[in-house]
């Protein structure tokens, strides 16, 4: 998985590649670091993610849990069909409901 900062918006990052078990430890570190480095708000563009598996889903769940613990806000772009299908399959739409947005929130 690669991470590219969004050039137009701070605290906004584009994820690309696989969010899968193979490099999951690295992904966890990278993503948690992003969250830590964000002051209050983090937005992740998921459109370029090519695959997500159970381990990848777990990391996103962890990220959301951690954000809640840290009193930070995490939003995810709702434009990746793979991710949306997984949420549908696992009935996790409600869990992520407040995080899914079409564009990063401007508030930050």
């Amino acid at each position: 998985m690669q991470i590219h900062p969004d050039e137009q918006q701070a605290n906004s990052y584009h994820l690309s590649g696989e969010l899968c078990f193979n490099h999951i430890s690295e992904s966890k570190k990278q993503l948690l670091a992003l969250l830590e480095n964000s002051a209050e708000y983090l937005h992740l563009h998921l459109a370029e993610i090519t695959d997500i598996d159970g381990a990848g889903l777990q990391i996103l769940i962890l990220l959301k849990n951690s954000a809640a613990t840290d009193n930070k806000r995490l939003t995810l772009s709702n434009d990746n069909p793979i991710f949306l299908a997984i949420l549908e399959a696992c009935q996790l739409q409600t869990f992520f409901a407040d995080s899914l947005v079409s564009t990063p929130e401007a508030s930050a």
Binding site: F21, I24, G54, A55, L62, C90
Partner: protein, 913 residues
Amino acid sequence: MSMAQLRQLFVMESSETLQKMEDALLQLEDKPDDQEALNVIFRAIHTIKGSAGIVNLGYISDFAHKIENVLDKLRKQQLIINSPLIKLLLDCEDHLQNLFDASVSDNPEEDTAALVDKTSALEQQFSDVLAGKAPMSESTPTPKTEAASNENDIVREQPSAQVVGNETETLEGNAELHASSQYWHLSLRFHQDAYQQGVDPLSTLGYLKSQGKIIALSTIVSQMPAAAQMNPEYCYLGFEMVFDAENEYVEKKHIESLFELILGNCDVRILPPSDKLKHYVQLLQELPEDTQMLGEVLVQIGTLSEHELAQGLNISPSAAPPAAPVVEPAVPTAVTLEPMVAEVSTPATPATSLKTTASKPQVQATLKIEAEKLDQLLNQVGELVIANAQIQALLDEDPQYHENNNLRESVQFISRLVEDIRNSSLSMRMVQIGQSFNRLRRLVHDLSQSLGKQVELLISGADTELDKSMVEKIHDPLVHLIRNAIDHGIETIAERSGNGKSEKGHIYLNAYHESGSIVIEVSDDGRGLNREQILEKAKAKGLVEENAELSDQAIDNLIFEPGLSTSNAVTDVSGRGVGMDVVKRNLQSLNGKVSIYSETNQGTRVKIHFPLTLVIIDGFLVNSGDSVYVIPLDSVVECAEFKTDEENPGYIKLRSKALPLLYLDRLFNNPKQDKPRQHVIVVQYGGQEIGLVVDGIQGEFQAVIKPLGPLFENLAGINGATVLGNGEVALILDVAALVDKLGQQQHHNLPQNFHEEEQQETLHSYLIFSIEQTYYALSIRMVKQVLVGEHLAGAPAMPDFIAGLLTLEHHSFPVLDLLHYFQVKPQAYNQESSIVVLSRQDEEQQRLLGLKVQHLHQVISLNESEIDSPNEQGVQQHDYFVAGISEFKQHSLLILDVDKLLERPDLRFLQTV
């Protein structure tokens, strides 16, 4: 098989029997003198009486017995049939049906008790009838029957009321409470190392979706620790789901098998639809998550209703306080997970299995289909086969077809598919006979007990397959045969030991296939048929004339006559003289044969032989004249070229056996054609072989049997017709009938089997040849082979009458030219001259000798009485070697004694060659 299952079977069958009885009753109402209909009713009641006794429903048996008494009077015309009586009988039929239903209801005691009054009411009416009272007059029966039908209605409602009662009863026990969910509940918790083992919860979901329908689901993520402790390579996911297996009959083990591959990486808990509430509670408590929270999850996905959850947690047998939240371990360690693993399937299992056996006693991977639908399918497959043959025939005529490989491949593929479809649709109808046999075990057991005899049933060939409809149709005859064997055949224990037999009698039931037909043998080691008694009864009944002399076989066959019973006592089991005639009728309707062999004090064997007629058969196409015929391939033994010098001989010799011949062209009056070559198709049925002489062989063909119209139904020798690829109709030969036909002729003519006859020394078969208008006969026993136009090696230093040396099977032997030797006018042989190879056994070895003869005719059989000794006829010329004289085609026939011939001085050298 349990008694309950046996009763179910009995009820199923008897209900059918009742239906037949009803039809016959109605028929009888229209035509009161219809004796056949009366017989049908009588047999129906008789069968019910017998079967009810077997399944311990004595009260039904008693009731039927009373009906039978009335019917018996009707048969003997001591009672007149009128519509009130018919009505009474119809009432009885309804009542019997109610009794049947009650006997297999959830609560047989109560249900049948409710019927007792009705039984006695009907029985009272019978006594009235027998006493010549009531229902004969028009007025009384009507109110009675009406009252009866009202009672019926009440009775019919009874069972359903009972069911409701049962339910309320169970609801009272809280612990037995069932959840209302109609779906399976699956609870999945993946092990931490699931990912490392290659198991992904997401893929598992995908897999489950392909196996059924996930009605609702909740992903459990509460086991996920905080970021610091969370190992991204561990799996923390779990699912609670409502799963629809989309199959009514699915068992828990089937669901379990879905998880076979991941079982080592995931804890799976399965609760069947509407399982006991306490099992859900158990599940909630076992799972690592908060019980209350999980309970809400279950409510959310619809497994439990809120009410059920509340109720369930209240009745929870363990003291765990559901209100106080259990503190979840922050990191679920292997230690906490371990005990769960052990419990995976155990807690739910006993309840599940109990539940499934209670609600669906027979979960089978089978499908019940109406026989009619299957017949329809077979019919369509039959049409498909014909259509395919047509396409094949059309394409074969098209020159382009043979060049178009793609087309040819496709057509061949379709042909193969058609054949597969045909085979599998045929096999759908095939069942093993064993099931039917096993039902008889119980019959034997119960009958022998009620009769105080010891009988063992020995079954062989239970895996013999035959058409389903056949199995059903032969069941009744088998029951009758076995019943007769036990009742009449097997002696009492005292009798047996008195006769030096084992105390235990045996009944052998054997089934096997024989060239496209099924043979079932029922034999016992009992006392055999009492021929004197049979004859006496038959004479008393007027079946046989008073002073008739009958062979043993003929007497034995008398037991198939209707109304003949040798038993003096009319029992529950048999003895009213229905039985063997039913057997015979049933089998005849299947085109079967039944034969009986009996030996006094040794036992009786009944052999049932019937064709395995199916809708589609593999046939063998032959021509005769302009017509094409199909011979069922199963009955074809071999094909041989038909070579003979004789014009239409009655027999040919095939490998030391005489084969009787049947000429199809003559049988069906086909115009005679000059065929250079004819063929003999050797067919067999019932252990007998005959040769069918045909003009040509076309090869194998899948024939769809189309029944002939009613007009041709009784045509002997034809079973049906089929449509060929070119649209022509071909007749299917009924080999059984043809063998029979020839067998009858043969009785007057030639024995079926040479060897048997030789041993008896009464009939001999002879090969007839002629030399210059003189006919000679050679005992066929000596004849090894007949050769035509064989090349002979020269025989130097041998007398002139030795035609040469012949080599056969690495042996050279001289050929004696009889024409030359007998020194009739020297004349050139015509082409028909043949060599008869004789085989003689002397002290040292088998010796061969050839006889060159002018004209070979045929094989005939002669009785010893037909042969005169040579002296009486005053034959002088060749009397040294003439063993006897007989007649052939109005000529005298000299029977050659080869041994004597070879004793002549000039031929003696041949003895040692």
